[in-house]
Symmetry: C2
C-alpha cells in the first residue's frame, strides 16, 4: 500500500461544524478539540501518517455513546471508535475527520459469573485489568495481544496472541456483545448460553469489523479456569525449519499446548540482550502447557522427545512461577527488545498467517527477502497458528527506507497469499492492508460492502477502513 | 408457534413455470417434479406440515448450483437448499414453492491436509462418510449431531452434538467455505490459515444462516488428531440437580471433558429397554475423556471423585473400545429408544440452551411442566454446554395433543429465555422458532433483516425461514 493511497476522504464541513457545537454542549469538558488529544487519538504504530479527528468524546456509558452517535448520524459525520489506540494498521485514523468516540472511561467489569465461566465488561476494560479483577476467582481471560489493549478494541480487530493455539481468538471467546449501530439503535447480539443456533451470528459479524459497523458497548466473555499446573520452557533448534516441524508434530499429536512461540535468531539476539536470557542465538520455541501436575509433566516430556527427534537442543522446562514469569516477560517484551537492534529507529509490526505446513517455507523465504532488502527485521510468531510477525526497524523520516519497507511488506503478503494464507492473522486490515484483502478474498469483499451499506448507509462508522466502499 | 402461523407465502406462478421449463432442459433426469421426490424434499421431523417445492434439482457441482441459482434469480423463484433433509424446524419446507437444490450428490472429499489438520469437502459429504474417509489418517471430524447429516447442512444450521463441549460447534470448526450467493455469484470466504483478521467474518455469517443467504458449495474443515486414549463411562445420580452440579464442577475445574451428556430418568428407562443397558432408572451422566493413557485415567478418576462428592453412584469407566462403543451407540440411539415409550407416536425433538448454572433449574421446571401437561417427554442434554433436548411423544393427527405440545414448547422457550438462555442451541430457527428469535434478540433481528435484504434483495434464498422479512 503506497502512502499516497491513504488519501483523505471528502470532509462534510457543515455537518462536522454542527456536530462539534452540539457535542460541546452535550459533553462539556468530556469533549476535547485540542491538538494534543486529537493527535493522541490518531496515533498509530505504523508508518501511515496520522489523520486527526476533529474532536474527541470521552463517553462514560452506552447512553452517552448512543447520544454521540445520534448527533453524528443526524449530521452524517464520521465516527472513529477508540479504545486504547494500539491498533497497528491505521485503525484509529480519521481520513474524513469527524469524531473519535473514546470508550476508555467505560472500564467497569459489570458482572462475573464464576459458575458459568463468563463475565460481562464494558469495552474500555483492558485485558490486564480484567485479569487483575479476576485474581481471586480462580479464573482468567486468555487472549493476550502484545499491548494491554481494551477488550472492545480487541473484539473489533479479532485479536489473539500467544494463547490462541489453545484457547482461540476473540472470535471464540466472546459469547455476545452489545453495540450502538450507525442508526444509533442499540442491540444485543446474544444471550449468555454457551452456544446458540438462533439467527445470524451478529456477534461474529461485529468481531473483526474494526468499528465499521457499530461501537461495542459491552461484551460477555468466556473465562477459563486457572490450570492446576503450568509448565513452560524454551528449546533451541538448528533451523527455523526444524522448529516448525516440531510445531507440526506437536499439534498433530494432539498435545494440548497452550503456547508455542517461534522466535528467529535475530529476534533471539534482541531478546537475549534486552532480557538477559542465557540462551543461544538460534531459532527457539517458547512452549507452555496447562493441566494437572501429572499432565503438564507428561506433556513437557513428550515435547522434549519431539524436539530431540528434530535436532533441537535440550528442552529445559519448569513449573516454577518465577522462571516462567521471566520467560514470558521476555516474550512480551519482544517489541522493546527489537528497538535495541537499531537505536532511534521505529519498529513497524506487520503480520501474516499461513497453514502451519507452509510456515517454515514462508519464514525461510521471508528471512532471505529481509537479507536481500538490507532490512533489520526480526521475526516472532504464534507458530501453532501459523501466524508470524515481522518487525522491520526503519527510519520513518527517510522516504527511501519507507519505499523499501513497502515493497517488502507487499512481497510478504503476496507470499502468504500464495501459500493459501491470509494477509493478517490478528492485526486487522485498517488502512494498511485493504489492497491485500481484495487480493485475498476477491468477490467476497463485495458481499462485505453490501453488508456495510445495509447497516451503515451513510458510511459514518469508521469510514475508509477495511475496504473502500 | 401456532400451526396457522406457518402460512404459505405468495407464489410467483409465472416465474416458477418458466424456471421449471428451463431447469428441465438444463438438468434433464436430474430435475424431478414427481410427487414422491417433492414430498421427500419437504420432509421434516416436526409437526409443521410439509410445504412442497415445485421441483428438485440434483446438482453435481458448484457450476450446476450456480446454473440453478441463475435461473431462479432471473425469474425470482424461491430456492431451498437441501442436504440430507434432517432439519428439525421446517428448514426444508417451501412455503412459496420454488426449487429444492439437492446437493447430496456433491459428496466428494476434495482434499485432506494431514499436516495442517484440515480438509476440504463438498457440501453433501456426511459426517460419517468423512470420518470413514479419514480412517487411515489418524484424524477425525468431531461434530456429531444425532443424524448422519450433510456437512453443508450442518454448517447452515450451526450444528453441534455431543463433542461440542470440547471441540466446539460448526461455528468453530469451519475454516472457510465457498458459496453461491443469491445473485448467482460465487465467493470463497477465507483461505486455509487457522485464523485471520482479514475483513468481516463471512464464514460465520453463512454458518447458521440456514440457507437464507446462499448455498454452500464447499467447506474447509478443521480436523482433530484421534486421541491416544479414550476413557468413557456412565455415572448415576440421585437427582438431575446433583448431576448438573457435577457438570459445573467438572467444567469449572478445567477438566478437559470431551463429552458429558445428561440423561434424565425417563430417557434412561427408554434407553435401558432399547439398548439393554444394566443401569439404574435414575438421572445419569455419560462422560468421555480424550488424551494420553495416563491423562484419561487421571481425568476419569478425578471425575469419579467429583461424582462421589455429589452423591453420585460409582463411576464405572473403561478405555476398551467395545464397551465405549456400546455406551455411545445407546446414546446415539436415544431417539429410537424414545419411540418405544409410546408405540405409534412420533417423537418431536426440540432444544433450548441455558447458562450451565441454570441447567438444573431449567430441567427441573421442565420436568414438572411435562408432568402437569400429561406429556410423555424424555430429556437428554449436552450438559457441558447447557443444551438440552425434550422429545415429547405425540399423536400428530390429534389437534388437541398438538395444542398441548405447542403450549409446552412455548413455556419451554420462554423459560430458557428468562434464564438468559437461547431458544435453540443447535437445531436452528427454521419456521418453528421465529417468534422466539424475536423475543430473544429483539432489535438485533432487524439488523439480520438488513443483512438479508442487502445480500438477497428479491428474497429468493430459503424464504420464510429464520424471520419474516
Amino acid at each position: 500500500m503506497a502512502l499516497s493511497d491513504i488519501s483523505a476522504m471528502a470532509r462534510n464541513e457543515t455537518g462536522i461544524a454542527l456536530a462539534l457545537d452540539i457535542l460541546k454542549q452535550r459533553f462539556g469538558e468530556r469533549f476535547a478539540t485540542g491538538d494534543a488529544l486529537r493527535q493522541q487519538h490518531a496515533h498509530t504504530m505504523t508508518y501511515i501518517p496520522a489523520q486527526l479527528p476533529d474532536g474527541v468524546v470521552f463517553a462514560q456509558s452506552a447512553d452517552e455513546v448512543q447520544a454521540a452517535v445520534e448527533v453524528c448520524a443526524e449530521h452524517k459525520v464520521p465516527i472513529v471508535p477508540f479504545g486504547t489506540g494500539t491498533s497497528l494498521e491505521g485503525g484509529v485514523n480519521a481520513p474524513g475527520g469527524g469524531i473519535s468516540v473514546d470508550v476508555s472511561q467505560m472500564n467497569s467489569v459489570l458482572r462475573v459469573n464464576p459458575e458459568d465461566l463468563d463475565c460481562t465488561v464494558e469495552p474500555g476494560v483492558t485485558r490486564k485489568q480484567l485479569n487483575e479483577h479476576l485474581r481471586d476467582t480462580g479464573l482468567f481471560f486468555p487472549i493476550d495481544p502484545g499491548a494491554d489493549a481494551s477488550l472492545g478494541g480487541m473484539a473489533a480487530t479479532r485479536a489473539s496472541g500467544t494463547n490462541a493455539v489453545r484457547y482461540g481468538t476473540m472470535r471464540d471467546n466472546v459469547i455476545a456483545l452489545e453495540a450502538v449501530m450507525p442508526n444509533a439503535r442499540r442491540i444485543r447480539t446474544g444471550k449468555r448460553a454457551r452456544k446458540s443456533s438462533a439467527g445470524y451470528d451478529l456477534t461474529r459479524l461485529m468481531i473483526g469489523s474494526e468499528g465499521t459497523l457499530g461501537i461495542i458497548t459491552a461484551l460477555t466473555l468466556k473465562l477459563q479456569g486457572i490450570p492446576q499446573a503450568i509448565s513452560s520452557g524454551v528449546c533451541p533448534f538448528p533451523t527455523v525449519d526444524a522448529a516448525c516441524q516440531a510445531v507440526i508434530m506437536t499439534v498433530q499429536m494432539g498435545l494440548p499446548v497452550a503456547r508455542i512461540e517461534l522466535v528467529n535468531a535475530l529476534q533471539m539476539q534482541a531478546m537475549i540482550n534486552y532480557s538477559k536470557l542465557e540462551l543461544p542465538v538460534s531459532p527457539c520455541l517458547f512452549v507452555e502447557f496447562h493441566g494437572t501436575d501429572a499432565g503438564v509433566k507428561e506433556q513437557a516430556e513428550t515435547f522434549g522427545e519431539i524436539a530431540a527427534e528434530l535436532g533441537g537442543g535440550e528442552f529445559i522446562w519448569s513449573v516454577r512461577e518465577e522462571e516462567r514469569a521471566k520467560l514470558w516477560q521476555a516474550r512480551h517484551d519482544a517489541y522493546w527488545a527489537v528497538l535495541g537492534l537499531r537505536p532511534g529507529a521505529k519498529a513497524l509490526a506487520t503480520d501474516v498467517c499461513v497453514p502451519i505446513s507452509k510456515l517454515a517455507q514462508c519464514i525461510a523465504e521471508t528471512e532471505a527477502d529481509i537479507e536481500e532488502s538490507g532490512l533489520i527485521a526480526p521475526i516472532v510468531g504464534h507458530a501453532g497458528d501459523g501466524n508470524f510477525h515481522v518487525s522491520p526497524l526503519v527510519n520513518v523520516d527517510d522516504p527511501d527506507e519507507i519505499a523499501v519497507l513497502e515493497r517488502f511488506v507487499e512481497r510478504l503478503n503476496l507470499r502468504a497469499l500464495s501459500m493459501d494464507g491470509t494477509c493478517t492473522g490478528e492485526h486487522g486490515i485498517g488502512q494498511g492492508k485493504m489492497r491485500f484483502l481484495e487480493l485475498e478474498l476477491g468477490g467476497a469483499v463485495d458481499v462485505m460492502r453490501a453488508v456495510k451499506r445495509a447497516i451503515d448507509p451513510d458510511n459514518i462508522m469508521n469510514p475508509g477502513k477495511v475496504f473502500i466502499l
